[in-house]
Symmetry: D2
Subunit: 259 residues, 4 copies
């Protein structure tokens, strides 16, 4: 069995450091690198590509809205042509650093509000898939696992793009397979062992236990962990350790797809 562990990285900017990239990198198999719109800058992008290469970690673009002040977390009412152009631009910029270091991008995972707005939004999914297809149709699109997954995959496929689905071992799920809102109590699982147990079940059985105790089937290619604080780093290390103990290989999403 195989699974990918991905983490958003390269979110520092100029004099500002964000995220413990050099600590979390040891636990993951894919890095989603910010591309300078909501976070990241050219030097940070280069350094993060180097870091990923050094650790044999797959590299993906993590494009966001042009909103550095809001860290790309605020919904912006952009048109489909704007979205496409913003993604082509950001993917291309990161691709150039990959080329400079003799490697290639494997995937594109939208960031923050762009990621969230895309859930169940056919037009936005189509724009994202089209942008990716125009740059390199071999790039995977990463989207949220759950009830919208199949429909999302169909839309992307119509544009020639394969979708990989992502789940969150440290987040509570509804019986419908959607994330419990962060505003609700219990939405985030802080215990590393509990999160790791959930990760193992996601990887081995393709199932997440919902808040009502039911087991919900969830097609998952990659699990998202967080490197923006010491707890996140520790949680990711535990998840990796427990996955490997369960004989689940932690490998970049492009390879894990080939199972």
């Amino acid at each position: 069995m195989k699974i990918d562990l991905n983490c958003d990285m390269g979110e520092s900017f100029g004099a500002y450091t964000l995220g413990m990239d050099s600590a979390i990198i040891a636990s993951v198999s894919s890095a989603n690198i910010a591309c300078g719109f909501h976070a990241g800058d050219p030097q940070v992008m280069r350094q993060t590509v180097e870091l990923a290469l050094k650790h044999g970690v797959g590299i993906g673009a993590h494009p966001g809205f042009p909103d550095l002040l809001g860290f790309g977390r605020r919904n912006m009412d952009c048109g489909s042509e704007e979205i496409e152009a913003y993604l082509i631009y950001q993917i291309g910029a990161l691709q150039a650093f990959c080329t400079a270091h003799g490697t290639r991008l494997s995937h594109v995972k939208p960031h923050g509000a762009l990621y969230n707005m895309a859930v169940g939004n056919d037009g936005l999914i189509r724009s994202i898939a089209r942008a990716i297809a125009q740059v390199d149709s071999n790039l995977f699109m990463v989207a949220l696992a759950g009830p919208h997954a199949d429909h999302t995959a169909e839309i992307a496929e119509a544009e020639g793009i394969i979708t990989l689905f992502e789940a969150f071992p440290d987040r509570a799920y509804t019986p419908e397979g959607t994330l419990v809102s962060r505003r609700l109590p219990g939405a985030v699982i802080h215990d590393p062992e509990e999160a790791a147990a959930r990760a193992v079940r996601m990887a081995v059985e393709g199932v997440v236990v919902a808040v009502d105790g039911t087991g919900v089937p969830l097609k998952v290619h990659t699990l998202c962990v967080h490197g923006d604080n010491p707890n996140g780093v520790a949680l990711a290390a535990t998840i990796r350790s427990r996955l490997e103990a369960a004989e689940v290989a932690v490998i970049p999403m492009a390879e894990s797809l080939l199972r």
Copy 2:
């Protein structure tokens, strides 16, 4: 005989229009497209790539300092690693739009202060050439023709990059082959026929007449014209017309190099 006519384009931004791109495009053979740092934005970049393609015009990246407010015209004291990363980023972003439209970049011409600061600045030339080489060593670097040219070419060549030299038919030259400062009277030639006659002599003989009347040899691959005002557009049209009347083919710089 062959020469390239190039023009800076794609300098609009959001709601702001700058330059008469759709008018000047008919007269030129290469477009230097701004990449979103000093000017340009993702949608403008895409539209300008489309415009260039439609007119069979060669496409180059026109990267600048991260200074939209100053239009990249203000010297900034950036380190060599910053310069390299900024150029890799910008070239990559534009490259993605070329890929999206089934074409390729031909060259890189730095903009404004970055272009001017590089004249005679070995370290900066090296940084620019290195950045280009890391993205695609088939891209030409465009630099100012004149006394620094041979040395510039050597530095770039050591990084694997071929330099093409640019002259300005509408600018006065010193007997040393440098541009007369814009602050001096007569620095800019406004008469289209005079500029055109100079362009023809540059292309046919590789010579520019200096302010003291002497003919100065100038190795030139491309002539720069301006599309930011109606006079510039008219002047460019006259230059093209007189070049063609003199049996000088106006073709993209990549092709003109092959003579």
Copy 3:
């Protein structure tokens, strides 16, 4: 009788010119000056304050979302604390230029998406009014005339701010007193005489003729004209001329309130 004619100004940025400020200024009595977030920059702000002063035109702040790329026209999902802070910042910045030139701000008119989102949005109106009150409670808030006006005024008044209402002589209105969407045919009135006749009726009778021919009462303190194209400038000149012919004094909104 008195009315104010206002126009958005100071929307140029760096090398980019937008709007025919020096032409439209002769026709208006109030200038809403962009504050550097969606448009405008410090030098443009200073020059526009000088222009307004020279022509005896009242000066207001025209703050917007931090979205230069989208010209502040895209809805952004900002929290109330963000909105308040963005407005305090922008109003203060413009106020400093007024102080530098020995004058004072008279009003605040939100721009673009911020203006439109506020219509009927109690929380957003409250945030805008609170921001204004924290800087200077003598500043008027400008909002859209129409069915929401009284409620808007109440919310602002609770924060200590007086609201002035704005109408558009060149826009079609519904029988409910709302603007006809720009997407519908006939939404914009291009004929200067027709727009001027509507402006006179708004000023003299406080009435606008809706698309179904009914006269709709509309409490109006200021009429908005546009200086971003030659037609807008000509239309504004005609409106001013016809207002004066009808013995309606065109004076800054602060003074017109005192009737």
Copy 4:
């Protein structure tokens, strides 16, 4: 005896935290607050004003170049009109938050490259002083103590602005009273007790011991400490403690001037 301890604050931006403001605030008497160009944002500015007020700390503006990516540390070749407009804008923006919280600005200290470029640069000092004078001639200008001080004060005074001079207890000085370049060994003093002893001597005797052992007279109104790392915070606490033990009152610079 009296002295001011100042620290640059409010340098966080959006999701990015920089500086340990809430820790260093207990040790200082003046806060120089970033104004959104090189660092800081509207919400951070408001929060930092609140923090300063809560601790009875004087508030100054800390304007910089429009270079968030370079944190205002890179020289930019801006004209005098640009500099003036950038400072008026930034001071005004911060002033509005002071007004909102019922307090006033006391001083203006340029940041980074703008601060360093001004040392010995008459034109730049004049631009800074003029900008301050146009907003509020009661604001002090903070500049580097040392051999240029008297001349700097004269230039500012001609614009109606009083200059206060700043020294660095944790920096080595040349016998001429200038800072030893950070690139040289020993340029920065890391031992809190040594820095504190130097601070006491600066405050009590107006003398700094240069690298050659000579005592150099230095007119000083305020001492700069740093809150961007735990060592800086500890060093500032020691300085304050030793100053008070030596019966030097640590008070805001506006008040310390009145001695």
